[in-house]
């Protein structure tokens, strides 16, 4: 499918002037193109995308979603302003502590093997649940 830059056959996305702008959450998003090391802290009003790891001892706090394209081993707090719809995505979700809005959770005690596939953490029915992240028709809404 060729993209016609003259404007006639552009794929149209909601909210990009091509359809009804949907009510999306705060669009402020930053990209961090490195790994966060122990002791480093990132606070942001909006969404955060990290192209790297979040090492143990590092922390990311965002009012929106947090996406880690790497290993998430530190502390994250998504929806820090109270948004329970916020989510945390990671290639390898292994946080020491995970917080969404006003919910705190951690990995269960004892030895366990972490999943090697991308996962997403979000609040369902008042509890933080972790699901395998899929794209496509079966994508979680």
């Amino acid at each position: 499918m060729a993209a016609d830059w003259a404007g006639e056959n552009l794929l149209r996305f909601p909210g990009r002037g091509g359809g009804e702008p949907e009510d999306m959450s705060d669009d402020n998003t930053i990209m961090v193109r490195r790994t966060l090391r122990s002791g480093q802290s990132l606070h942001f009003e909006g969404n955060v995308v990290i192209l790297g790891d979040v090492n143990p001892g590092a922390e990311v706090v965002a009012t929106g979603d947090i996406v880690v394209m790497g290993s998430l081993r530190g502390v994250v707090h998504a929806g820090a302003g109270g948004d329970s719809n916020a989510a945390v995505y990671a290639f390898r979700l292994q946080p020491t502590q995970l917080r969404i809005a006003n919910r705190i959770t951690r990995a269960p005690d004892g030895e366990q093997s972490f999943s090697a596939t991308p996962e997403v953490a979000r609040i369902r029915d008042g509890m933080v649940v972790i699901e395998s992240f899929q794209t496509g028709p079966e994508r979680q809404g």
């Binding site: 790994t35 090391r37 122990s38 002791g39 480093q40 790891d53 090492n55 143990p56 001892g57 290993s71 081993r73």
Partner: protein, 263 residues
Amino acid sequence: MGEVIVVTSGKGGVGKTTTSANLGAGLASAGSRVCLIDADIGLRNLDVVMGLENRIVYDLVDVTSGNCSFKKALIKDKRFEKLFLLPAAQTKDKTAVSPAQMEALCDEIRDDFDYVLIDCPAGIEQGFRNAIAGADHAVVVTTPEVSAVRDADRIIGLLEKEDLREPKLIVNRMRHQMVKHGDMMSIDDIIEILAIDLLGVVPEDEMVVISTNRGEMVVLNNNSKSGQAYRNIVRRIKGEDVPMMDLEDSGLLGKIRRIIGLK
């Protein structure tokens, strides 16, 4: 114009002083002019480990406060032609020197030496900031333990902030059998978190304790595996490509294990 290398770790007790002494001795044995600086003011150890403590007259604080020139304070290690030590002060603390003074000192010293190795104290405060002030490169020492690796990660972050980019890693006190049984972090586990280049791996070795108590450096001991590891690291520092030591148990017991088929 010499290279100033700081040996740091964050965590205490992982082997910075031992590593500094052995790398210094190793480089000097290989023909380089080396100056070791003990930056651990108040808790000095490098002089003890090298067996030079009863020859100290002047120290680092004397030099930075102008009481004497650095040449007067340097102690020549009589076992080597080209190894010198600038000891720390024991009766002061880390506020006695500033990062600016350390940087000026390193600039003055580096002209006379091929390598200046700075033994950094544990921690992330004034002592650390003093030690890294004059450095060109950093070597981070860690042991294969969770707490040491956490602290090393913190230190690497702080080094990167101070523009000491691409520090090199030494993993000390490695116990190969424990790694094989899954009881100890492997080198891969460590590098996955720290993500810096590996300079060398030093195996756990009783000879280190014995040598330290005698004021000798294990790098001179041809029968010691840790000595061999330090010798390899010295060659890598000088630019040679040396393969990592095989830490498999090469003793008789190990050979029997392998013949029987036990791993």
